[in-house]
């Protein structure tokens, strides 16, 4: 039952195209940014600077704000739809499953995009490094072997995003509970 509702929520997310594309792109950019901040923390030599702490903090707070904003938009744009679903027998838990499904799907797609883009950028950089020896003045780059992003920063970023989604939906759950099915009966002007 839960799985079916999650499947349908993915379908609903994909069909609200504009919202889906905008938020997926925003999540992708934010994810890449946060992952590169974590990369700096994990692999740079010496203590992180004040500026690096600040950047990491901003990327985490931005993720939280975006997650709450997305949940808020999904619930607000769909007030009438949620009320109608309640009228036809959906429980609050059913509605929550649908919203979580949509949020998690956007996170997953953004993660795949980040991974996909990183693979291509890494491949391009690797190619550049491999060729650097042939160009006068660029020989030193031939020695660089460090990847663009390592597995741990990406994994931690994904985990952070999932936590942010859970927090986002928790913050908005009160709105779902408060929404009365009677709203569906209001006539649209």
């Amino acid at each position: 039952m839960g799985l079916r509702l999650i499947g349908k929520s993915i379908k609903l997310a994909m069909r609200s195209r504009r919202r889906f594309i905008v938020f997926t792109l925003m999540y992708t950019v934010l994810m890449a940014w946060m992952a590169s901040n974590f990369e700096t923390f994990f692999y740079k030599e010496g203590d992180p600077t004040e500026n690096e702490w600040l950047m990491l903090g901003i990327s985490i707070v931005s993720t939280l704000i975006l997650s709450i904003l997305y949940a808020w938009i999904v619930i607000n744009y769909r007030k009438r739809e949620i009320a109608t679903l309640k009228c036809i027998g959906y429980t609050n838990a059913n509605i929550r499953t649908i919203i979580i499904g949509e949020l998690m799907w956007v996170t997953f797609v953004a993660f795949v995009l980040v991974a996909e883009v990183l693979i291509h950028i890494t491949a391009a950089i690797t190619y550049f490094y491999s060729q650097a020896a042939n160009f006068p003045g660029l020989e030193e780059y031939h020695q660089i072997t460090r990847p663009l992003l390592s597995i741990w920063p990406i994994t931690i970023t994904l985990a952070m995003f999932i936590v942010a989604q859970v927090l986002g939906i928790t913050a908005m759950y009160a709105k779902i509970l408060k929404l009365r099915p009677i709203v569906a009966l209001r006539v649209l002007k």
């Binding site: 349908k8 069909r15 609200s16 679903l85 009228c87 036809i88 027998g89 429980t91 009677i182």
Partner: protein, 226 residues
């Protein structure tokens, strides 16, 4: 003796509007039997929609007793009301209230998605419901591709897919032209006969009275004729 489907005893409901107390339902007593086709009429603000909301568990009364198909609902939790609606009640709205991003058949199926039925069975039931309302050929269309009458027929298919005991409709023809309104009422009448579903239709259109087999008239929150 006929089976009682809905029973209201001394039901009261008040609203507060800009500091004034409005008595939407004043000591309403009403019994609706299984299989009846009830038309609830009255002027604007007489309390007919409030009556429908209270009977269907969308709103709770301030006082009195509401029994729907043997279950007392006046103090029920939202979880229990959802459960009753899912098993026993179908809704048809004036604005159709279809989910814009779902096709006609998906809108109908949506009622059963949270349940335990297999997907194939849900699809079969949705097809049967759409066939009943003569809309099978438009099953893959989105609501925006359907006319008002077709949207309302989709909404009716959605309301009957789970074979409810009672179907509530609030001004179901309010947004339709005369011909579409006639077709919708004929369809509801036919479903009432074929499936034995108890129908409660709220309207202010006197032309619809002929479709019902019982008229309930309201004025100032009271049932004046039933």
């Amino acid at each position: 003796m006929p089976e009682v489907m809905i029973k209201l005893e001394n039901v009261q409901k008040e609203f507060r509007l800009r500091g004034n107390i409005i008595r939407a339902l004043a000591d309403v007593n009403l019994t609706i039997n299984a299989g009846e086709f009830v038309i609830i009429m009255g002027p604007t603000g007489c309390g007919k929609t409030t009556l429908l909301n209270v009977m269907s568990g969308l709103d709770l009364p301030d006082d009195g007793t509401v029994i729907v198909d043997g279950e007392k609902i006046e103090r029920a939790t939202e979880e229990r009301l959802s459960n009753i609606r899912r098993r026993k009640i179908g809704f048809v709205f004036q604005d159709f209230n279809l989910v814009e991003n779902l096709t006609a058949i998906e809108n109908v199926e949506a009622v059963l998605w949270p349940g335990v039925l297999r997907s194939k069975e849900i699809e079969d039931r949705a097809i049967a419901a759409l066939r009943k309302v003569d809309l099978l050929d438009r099953k893959d269309n989105l609501p925006k591709e359907l006319s008002g009458g077709e949207k309302q027929r989709t909404a009716i298919a959605r309301a009957i897919i789970h074979k409810p005991r009672i179907l509530f409709a609030d001004e179901p023809t309010g947004n339709l032209d005369n011909e579409a309104a006639r077709q919708i009422m004929e369809l509801l009448k036919q479903l009432n006969k074929e499936m034995g579903t108890t129908m409660c239709i709220v309207t202010h259109d006197k032309g619809l009275v002929k479709y019902g087999n019982r008229l309930v008239e309201m004025e100032h929150g009271k049932v004046v004729k039933s």
